[in-house]
Symmetry: D2
Subunit: 345 residues, 4 copies
Amino acid sequence: MKKIKAGIINVAGYAGVELARLLSQHPQVELVSVTGRSTAGKRLDEVFPHLTGSNLIIETELGDVDFAFSAMPHKESAAAVLPLLKRGIKVVDISADFRLKDADEYPEWYGFTHPAPQMLEQAVYGLPELYRRQITSARLVANPGCYPTGAILALAPAVKQGLVGNHAIIDSKSGISGAGRTMSLKTHFAEVNEDVAAYALEGHRHLPEIIQELNLLQPDQPASVTFVPHLIPMTRGILTTCYAPLTNRLASGKMEEAELRQIYLDFYKDESFVKVTTSPPHTKHTLGSNLCLVYPTIDKRAGRLIVISCIDNLVKGAAGQAIQNMNLMLGLPETTGLEALAVYP
Amino acid sequence: MKKIKAGIINVAGYAGVELARLLSQHPQVELVSVTGRSTAGKRLDEVFPHLTGSNLIIETELGDVDFAFSAMPHKESAAAVLPLLKRGIKVVDISADFRLKDADEYPEWYGFTHPAPQMLEQAVYGLPELYRRQITSARLVANPGCYPTGAILALAPAVKQGLVGNHAIIDSKSGISGAGRTMSLKTHFAEVNEDVAAYALEGHRHLPEIIQELNLLQPDQPASVTFVPHLIPMTRGILTTCYAPLTNRLASGKMEEAELRQIYLDFYKDESFVKVTTSPPHTKHTLGSNLCLVYPTIDKRAGRLIVISCIDNLVKGAAGQAIQNMNLMLGLPETTGLEALAVYP
Amino acid sequence: MKKIKAGIINVAGYAGVELARLLSQHPQVELVSVTGRSTAGKRLDEVFPHLTGSNLIIETELGDVDFAFSAMPHKESAAAVLPLLKRGIKVVDISADFRLKDADEYPEWYGFTHPAPQMLEQAVYGLPELYRRQITSARLVANPGCYPTGAILALAPAVKQGLVGNHAIIDSKSGISGAGRTMSLKTHFAEVNEDVAAYALEGHRHLPEIIQELNLLQPDQPASVTFVPHLIPMTRGILTTCYAPLTNRLASGKMEEAELRQIYLDFYKDESFVKVTTSPPHTKHTLGSNLCLVYPTIDKRAGRLIVISCIDNLVKGAAGQAIQNMNLMLGLPETTGLEALAVYP
Amino acid sequence: MKKIKAGIINVAGYAGVELARLLSQHPQVELVSVTGRSTAGKRLDEVFPHLTGSNLIIETELGDVDFAFSAMPHKESAAAVLPLLKRGIKVVDISADFRLKDADEYPEWYGFTHPAPQMLEQAVYGLPELYRRQITSARLVANPGCYPTGAILALAPAVKQGLVGNHAIIDSKSGISGAGRTMSLKTHFAEVNEDVAAYALEGHRHLPEIIQELNLLQPDQPASVTFVPHLIPMTRGILTTCYAPLTNRLASGKMEEAELRQIYLDFYKDESFVKVTTSPPHTKHTLGSNLCLVYPTIDKRAGRLIVISCIDNLVKGAAGQAIQNMNLMLGLPETTGLEALAVYP
């Protein structure tokens, strides 16, 4: 069978290079073109020695491809993606540029006026566990943010079932690769090693994305979400701990752990990449894999739901999910090229 | 001036050896006796080479001291402390054995019947910021747990002022030294490096301690607390993120950040070891020091209070606070021997 | 094609569980039986949640297999392997029990008398880059130690060519997983994080293995090797820096970097898993992969050869190399199941 | 007693800020002025929150001081230091600008022509263990580099005594803070965490400094030194492993460990900051302290001397040693302000 030719715009960030790694191992797709800015003209495996065996040269413009991923920063990504769509190339956009349905949110959260508001409706939010059918027929998929992936997968079954009143506190702990490959004091080893801190308390850009999706899951009640991300001294992984008051019936003690667990098992029963665990999950058990581990439990003393999720922020939180979306868009089995087990320890 | 002779029961855990380090540098106290079990008979600086210059031999029984610290595990600590008190020696107990006022909590949370319930009332909970006066005249001080220290200092001003209805979600991220020096898979480097996980979701032993103190701060409303600790890959430090719904007046937007901040500044205005910060604090800025950094803020969108605190779990969360208590009990300036700045980076 | 049935004796250490991970992804082999001691009776994916999808139960005795790996500790491994060989099962032994050709070395270095000295000659030292032909027809392969793999691959071309007089200083830096999954203070996170130390200065057990192989490569001159291993705060990876005085002709400046590099390129020209790099390699570029990166250079000022090698100690240093050996023993393409790129960052 | 007024030029790097921390705790010296470039105008404790209690404003020019430290980069440091010397202010220069006695080395190693070659002779190399007397009367002390401090203290007794023929291989493992606070991919957490690599194989700038000092210790034989530094994933600390062939008498087995050890004990018998250990030392046991731990041993099989040293690169390797030099230059007890024990774990 002839392989599908895929390309990556801006391969030089962590999401881009992780896409390159995963695509290099995909049996039905061939990575034929990658672009970069400061790295253009160099061999891909010179800039990223772990991509051994690649003979690609980093280009300034994407070559002839059947399918494209954009790993550009926000605002620039929309500009790069729109011409590709016009040429009939299907695209998964890793940036935030097509995630929000309401164009008015872009000036507020991202500081720019959206160049193609009409596309926001066409674009499908690329969380296959919620939008599989739509993704299958989409031309443009907006790959979710890393934090929203973990948070929404943790809360979706409970919110959908009305177990909680769409109020949630989301406390996320992310590895440093989530801050990108750009240099800053925030990613300097000596500054973040042996350290933990919260950031973006005034409102992280992933918040409107989380609210949008929770509102779609539970339209009866507008989501009231507090989201606090933290950086912790590890490279990969996000652990998200969600807290929500249980609605009255449940808080009164009638809901048992087993019942809650069954709701989650049912919700995710056909999913290849979401596992409901029986004990609090570890990010280490997702490192390098496309899995999301979800653990729901009840704090009976306080009448609160607690759900914990784990993902590898660069796989299920970025590049792996992008390939999952690509597989769906191309009619391939959803797990193709994503079967790798986590690397432990 | 003649130095006070101090001793440490069970020097071989991380709290014990940190006490030894800090006492070695205390100008008014001399560490004259330390005990251990498997390490008895060895030189202290052989077992712990960083304690260079010490010529103490680890003993099986405490020698002649004016003041004692117990760093024994719970249950065993009470047994070790009671005879010392009878001999008129003042004691700071690092264990949990005298922290809870209600003897009935011990069987439930710690699995043993308290051997001296009458002492629970005499013992003072050793959080100087709340109980300075009582500590000054105490013979037995129960040194708070590491998590409760960070959580209570974060919440006390708000709870006391009635800003929140004594409902709180406490999400803590602790370095691995908090799990002790005992060997277990939970502390094996390859297991916890590049990993984060929650634990004790069924109820951590520090929960009753937190509830007890919040109830004392706000007796009108019983505390409803959800507490989830996490282990993250660093050695020292606890960052605690607290979430609480603001009471109606405040949630309606009338409270400004500045007003909240002022409440915290006022509450801690005379404290040497609590600093109200103007941006989210980093555990790295407390490493090796007795400081607690506290950052209160408001999530206006959701009407919630967020307070973040940082401590070094082995200093303000254990040995440093124990020395702070000792200073008060001995009539010494509270900061004596605790002036060291944090080691950064 | 019917898959070959493989088994692992003692799956519960890091080498064993890494074998299980890699075999789970091997297209021609099915992992059908695993044994353990304290974990016997449990599901494999309960003890090791990253092995999701496995339905194996850990057994006390190996079931019906065509091929076996032993990941037992030394001395016990020989006892486990010998009966399998008698039953005609081919074996790769991860332990040291069949690595040394001279039975007299076992009492000295490993503290036991070898139970089957006659097997030491039959067993093939499983470094495919040196013994590919012999491995192909072997029934018992002794998988090399992690340090020897990195050190011998670094030095072999130079020693074979007589560039150095078989004198070498080998300074290795290993991640903590190399110390095994057994608990000890040496692997306690708080002890080894933010720390580095040398160990086994009196003579590490991998030394006789290194000497044996260097002597076979250059029989004219007995190897004089100083080997100092260090533990550094990371989970996986070994970087080995080798120093050797250049023989006179070369030290006098006649050898250029390019010539040296060409010798290495020639030596490894047909190798899938050894790459000669053009700049000092990083262990990160081997994480999770079976690659060994080798970088030879000359210190012209001092007339010394410097060669640096990197491996993932659990893959090329243990389980990956074991599978490479298995592939050869079974007549499969050598790289089958070992194509995964390193996980970066 | 009136305190001496000290200042720091360029407080914003890791050496500068560590000087500020240590000086803040010095009983006889008051830090009265600090300069910075991009941070000028800000409060010191705003840029570095761990320096709590300081009310200094970072300035562009040094104020009125009795004593100055320069933590400027090389070349710029000389330009900053020379005017201070003219004003009669004693200076410790943390940079390399006055370390090398031969002005011709500066163009080769540092890429600039030295602006004041005549000062190179006046300047004293600030290793108190070798040059205490000269430092005491010096006006300008060139503080040694971090790697040379560890390497020279490890080798000095052996080289001085002629145990080795001034041939040495020096393999150093440094924490990332050694690479400075400047941002680069080399210090990006995700790049260096879970990684180790060698660098500067073509010749590190600290090499001429090491050679200069070994030649002064053993003028009979020109030093032939191979020095390879490595970066490992920790913040602070350098472990240096030195290898040297023993001269004939010793290699023939006549030297015992005890004799070697005695030579080291004698050499350092009056030193407060060098400890000869009885087992391989850990960098963790020096974290935050001014100690250098030295462990000499013999590889009897190969006839080589091995010496391992540990320092905290920012204390004994930079700021602590600078203060030790200042104490000597000011006639203060050498250990003043440097008594802090290492922070363990």
